[in-house]
Symmetry: D2
Subunit: 305 residues, 4 copies
């Protein structure tokens, strides 16, 4: 039976690890915050006192960390600690599910390969709800063989396991997607508000654009205009969902990637500036569809309440 | 049997009128260019020597003209001519299928209403291919009653007959949609190119974003990157399809609308500037997905040939 | 002695007319709001009961109105009134100081020319302070001869009388300038805030950029960052100065002009969207340098008080 | 007499070092390309076989390198070489004139301080012409004492020696300035072209905006429209001056800085995208004012020749 080490039990990591436990795998967990391990050990996971301890005997190591620097120092080591790639057994499969810069992912993949280890970058989308339900999408980078090994493991946590290309390609594909998403959200918001400003009903306009050439994911699943769709953040005062601060982080990664490859991303760059303005105005913890409010008449909003 | 006057037989108007003839309606046509009537009379349409002559006894008048000024002067008259609303019989249904500014549509609708006539603004999308196949989408503005009357007539020329709201709403909804479309096209282009710049295969990246939150109409139907999809302009040197010059026109209408309603459309405004630059560089008659080339490395393009 | 009719006595028109009275000219004034004439008649101006009445015997007619439609209907007449060009004496010089669209200015100039009258479009910059002090800048369009005649009259109200070209050129030059100004203001704001975010003193950074290649009018005269310069709106809670709503109006005119000439103005278009957002957030009556606050951390601003 | 080590003799470094030699200082030079030292030794400089060799006994070390990674590895050492800070004598003043990211500058400054050494980041503006003429502007970061020591040395190579703040502040101020400059250039270009599109003479429009609120460095010194000013790149087919590729580099640094500080720079980000597009279209080695051509009608350009 496959034994998995899961390191990083935050809002995303904890429910992901829980799904592995529930699938019957042997899961050894670690988090810098000891309490974070409690809910997992209650489910039957084993705990460790260090990341290396958790990883030492595992068949598969999965990590879910905040940023590239954490991933680099965990896998490669730093002044104080050995890296995971120095302690895991031969043949261990390494899977990083963090959303980080592609360069860090490639650097870890390369160092892992030098030790004969397979590394897959597998950032996720789907949010905490998808993590709990086991319906995440994983966008993976790495060798074909490593991807095929990772696929059934990831399948316990997600519904779509996609292969974007070589090492780092999962990260690149994810930020390309999220950059595009941010533009869809802003552009759908401004289009809907312009319709409203001309007296159109946003529900009717949304239905029309959804079946026309303006159709996009935000109109299908995540309309930013309040009260057009039920059960989306815009109809719940923009609570829940995907935070503005996280979109700002992903847009930052996208612009970092654009600098590395000398790419021009006028729409993505503009979306980042608008989202940073929005965050600085105190909306960082609200859902990212709240960018819609940048285009409404605040007077109207105030009078609504 | 319903008799229809069809005025304006350009690239779109001619095949639209042909579908009405083929549906068995009595169609009287007029165009300022006499030769334009020939293909229609060959099919069985009747010709007229003037717009008013065509419209005089018709149950329904349909117009397909280049811009708001043409629509206004045709319906309302000018120094030299009476307007259509002065010559048509009581109860005639007026349908304008041109893509024009909403204000002109509203002005004509108002003058028509003062004469007791019903007017529907019904701009189309779907291009010349959709016009020929009778699969256009009509986005309509006008009273419910008028819309219900127009619907079966438009049904001979299109597959989707949508009602956006009161007079002018068809125009507003269409330019909201096309503004959004232009942003989808630019943002999808820059995202794909950034992926390519990082070594990703645009086919793979397109497949991933299509099923993720970046999903949008351009990825589904009209991928801007050459050789990702068959049978789209990008795989045919950007020939055919929807011309850059027409997108520039629609984006102009969208910005005019934004000025009227004091709306903020940062993405749409940026798309317009990028498309104008693209047109000025000599791409006006190429398909609008050729904006993709703004983001590629020209050196790569040159080396391809 | 030259007799002048001055029509339109708002915040700008009233002090401008006062300077003509103070210069010893015979000034006949009219405004739709009778009370607006009081301060002028107190100074020695004559009042009229209608615009045409004021203009009838004048050597020079000067108008200062809100928008193109007012200028067109006043000069050209409408359903209820004769136009000024129908009532003034032969040889009357017509000067419009309103900031309006170039097309309206050209239309009035053309109609005036058909009656043998000279028309100069002469929009101003310098604000109410410049109007009071007689230090306005006039940017004029019209024939050389007309400009030479207008120059000494305008010289009583302004310090710089510039000739931009033929009819309408004054309006075009003014909106080109104001569009550029809006971009200078936004770009200077974002550059200063980025420096502040990195710990730099905005006074020091302003001094450095002022003498470097980033030097521009806003750094010289109108720094948007509070407490960098004395006696500017940013150091007075953004009160006074040039209102956001007026910048939105001018940016609207600039985008209208860009549509007419099919010009690409990515920076000006973006500035308009940012200013519209800013106005919609309740800042319409504050000085336009308050756009700086779009880039600051609102938390910081609140904690300052 | 002060002895100076000068490391990095490219297009900028060579003439800068020459001015130090001409000022009578003892200058020891090093460059990875031995031939690059020839022109300096001809002038009287001493050559070294390594950077550390040049720096070993110097009172002042000056470096002029392409990017942050070169500066870090030179000062801090790497796997193969000791760093300069490990070999220089106590009390040596370290001055880096490269344009690099602020973080690298701060990192070097911190490591230098730990060894008791003073480090000044002193990026320059003024181009190769300014380097030759000794009229560069230096924008410096570092402690007051270090800045005062650096000032007379830099005074042999430049006309303006400015102090922006603590370590790294020179780099931040320079990229804030250059980001602002790029926006001035784009916005001035689009404003001038819009005027031209309306029939205005760009010389007249430039004169008007120069003395109005649109006034900025590009109108004063570097007009982007051909044949408005003599002796600028735009009047010489955009040859010479400051290359598009270098502006792309500086805009990249500005966006990197914006990511570090979570700043919003919509104008700077848009300028970067436009400049990257321009470079990718084959304009990388032309002067950065050639961005003007993005806004002209290419047909007009072609017809000019």
């Amino acid at each position: 039976m496959t034994s998995v080490a899961f390191i990083g039990l935050g809002h995303m990591g904890a429910p992901m690890a829980a799904n592995l436990v529930n699938a019957g795998l042997t899961v050894r967990v670690f988090d810098l915050v000891p309490q974070a391990m409690k809910s997992l050990t209650d489910l039957g996971a084993l705990s460790s006192s260090s990341a290396c301890g958790a990883a030492a005997g595992a068949d598969v190591v999965i990590t879910m960390l905040p940023a590239g620097k954490h991933v680099r120092s965990l896998y490669l080591g730093d002044d104080n600690n050995k890296g995971l790639i120095d302690v895991v057994a031969d043949g261990t499969l390494l899977i990083d599910c963090s959303t980080i810069d592609a360069q860090s992912a490639q650097q870890v993949a390369k160092s892992a390969a030098e030790k004969g280890l397979s590394f897959v970058d597998a950032p996720v989308s789907g949010g905490t709800a998808g993590a709990a339900a086991g319906t995440l999408t994983f966008i993976c980078g790495g060798e074909n063989g490593a991807f095929e090994l990772a696929k059934p493991i990831l399948g316990h946590m997600g519904a779509n396991i996609l292969h974007a290309g070589a090492a780092g390609a999962g990260q690149v594909a994810k930020i390309c997607n999220n950059m595009l998403l941010s533009v869809l959200m802003v552009a759908t918001s401004e289009s809907l508000q312009m319709g409203i400003d001309h007296g159109l009903d946003p529900k009717v306009l949304s239905e029309i654009m959804k079946v026309s050439s303006g159709g996009n994911w935000t109109l299908d699943k995540y309309n930013p205009c309040p009260d057009v769709m039920p059960n989306v953040p815009s109809s719940n005062d923009y609570q829940g969902g995907f935070m503005v601060d996280l979109m700002v982080k992903d847009l930052g990664l996208s612009q970092e990637a654009a600098l590395v490859s000398n790419s021009s991303t006028p729409m993505g760059a503009l979306a980042r500036s608008l989202y940073v303005n929005h965050a600085r105005q105190g909306n960082g913890t609200r859902d990212f569809s709240s960018i819609f409010e940048q285009f409404t008449n605040s007077q109207q909003i105030k009078n609504k309440g």
